[in-house]
Assembly symmetry: C2
Homo-oligomer: 236 residues x 2
């Protein structure tokens, strides 16, 4: 039996609930989401397999999760590199970037070049609020992630995929199948098309919220912030 999925619309409403009646700040939620992502990378790509991690950061919340994950990975001993071409003026994202600069994490402009000298890629470009066309400069980045043999971990959604309908039928992203996916709070319908290792993160959802949005809290173990499930959300 697979975990229930939540639509893009429900995921947006859930986030809004967490930050209004749930009383969470976005700083808290992003810290815990990014921590989840860092724990997945640690699990699927132990540092002995190579410590270089390239994080592709988009302009919104998905990118913020990537910035937080990169910081934790740096503390674990990895060497992250950040590709962040569309820097937000939002105060939170600027602070998350500064926290990385203070750890001497490099920011680079040339994604294909950076891909030549990394061991793992984190795709934190677009999340559940993505729809429509992939805007510049991201088409080439997604094409490069589609082609590379280096393993890619996507945050919440493979960037460019339609949240409900999965990979685009043609064009940018149609051949992008990341190796690993971290679904935050609950899987989105696109997991039906996903084929790699799949984790759930975001261990802050209350039973009441899960009930309201009609999904099951996954069976996290111990102090883990993530739990592995089947590619399409099956319980393992």
């Amino acid at each position: 039996m697979a975990l229930k999925t939540i639509s893009a619309k429900a995921a947006a409403a859930l986030d809004k609930d967490l930050m209004s009646t749930g009383a969470f700040s976005i700083d808290q939620l992003m810290e815990l989401a990014g921590l989840s992502v860092s724990q997945v990378v640690y699990r699927v790509h132990p540092i002995q397999k190579g410590h270089r991690i390239l994080v592709a950061v988009g302009p919104g919340n998905n990118g913020g999760d990537g910035l937080v994950a990169a910081r934790h990975l740096r503390h674990y001993g990895y060497q992250p590199t950040i590709y962040y071409p569309k820097r937000s003026k939002n105060d939170l994202y600027q602070r998350l970037a500064k926290q990385l600069e203070d750890l001497e994490v490099p920011f680079v402009d040339d994604f294909p070049a950076a891909l030549e000298s990394t061991d793992h890629v984190v795709d934190a470009i677009f999340g559940f609020s993505f729809s429509g066309e992939v805007r510049e400069p991201f088409p080439a980045v997604i094409q490069a992630m589609a082609k590379t043999k280096i393993p890619v971990t996507s945050v919440d959604a493979p960037s460019s995929w339609n949240i409900e309908e999965g990979p685009p039928k043609s064009g940018v992203g149609s051949s992008f199948y990341p190796d690993v996916l971290v679904s935050l709070t609950a899987p989105k319908p696109l997991v039906k098309y996903f084929k790699g290792r799949h984790f759930i993160g975001g261990r802050f959802v209350t039973p009441a919220i899960a009930k309201k949005y009609d999904f099951d809290l996954p069976a996290y173990e111990g102090i883990d912030q993530v739990v592995e499930v089947g590619p399409n959300g099956q319980k393992l």
Copy 2:
């Protein structure tokens, strides 16, 4: 060789640095500090030893760390109970309390009664900014923690201890020796008088900050947010 300690004054300046030039929000830092505390409790008091955790929460940041720790412990499967007699009007603390209420974590008024039906106590009453006299209603709470045979984990400092000089020579707290201490960012001078299991938490300090305040970053392992050291900060 023991880890270097930092004075109360240095700890306050360090926090200020983290939140100004370091670009951290207090929400982020408190989330990570509380997470550290929850990981220590999980390690020293596995859930099989009893799932009931009484958290004594003071009016300031130390209390906030306790509220965050309680939430994570609830997610791990423990049943925390909160004693929080001096509720702050500060928005952050109010939100942290609401997050616990949404998980149906009970708040109680009678500390000695609550102590009768718990398996472990978290002392999050006072931290490094404490000095002078213990104010009401906390003297009786500290006396109860001093007397009980139930294990107590203190956050950053055994409440009532002088940060530089350790346990008071007489009166409230003079016989309070908690079983476990979680030093946040770096040990304070009081660890010279501490006799129990000792952990360092707060895996967000940059090498530059550690250098500025003249202490060593502890050797965290894997994805752990805490590392055990000797009672007085010796490397294990």
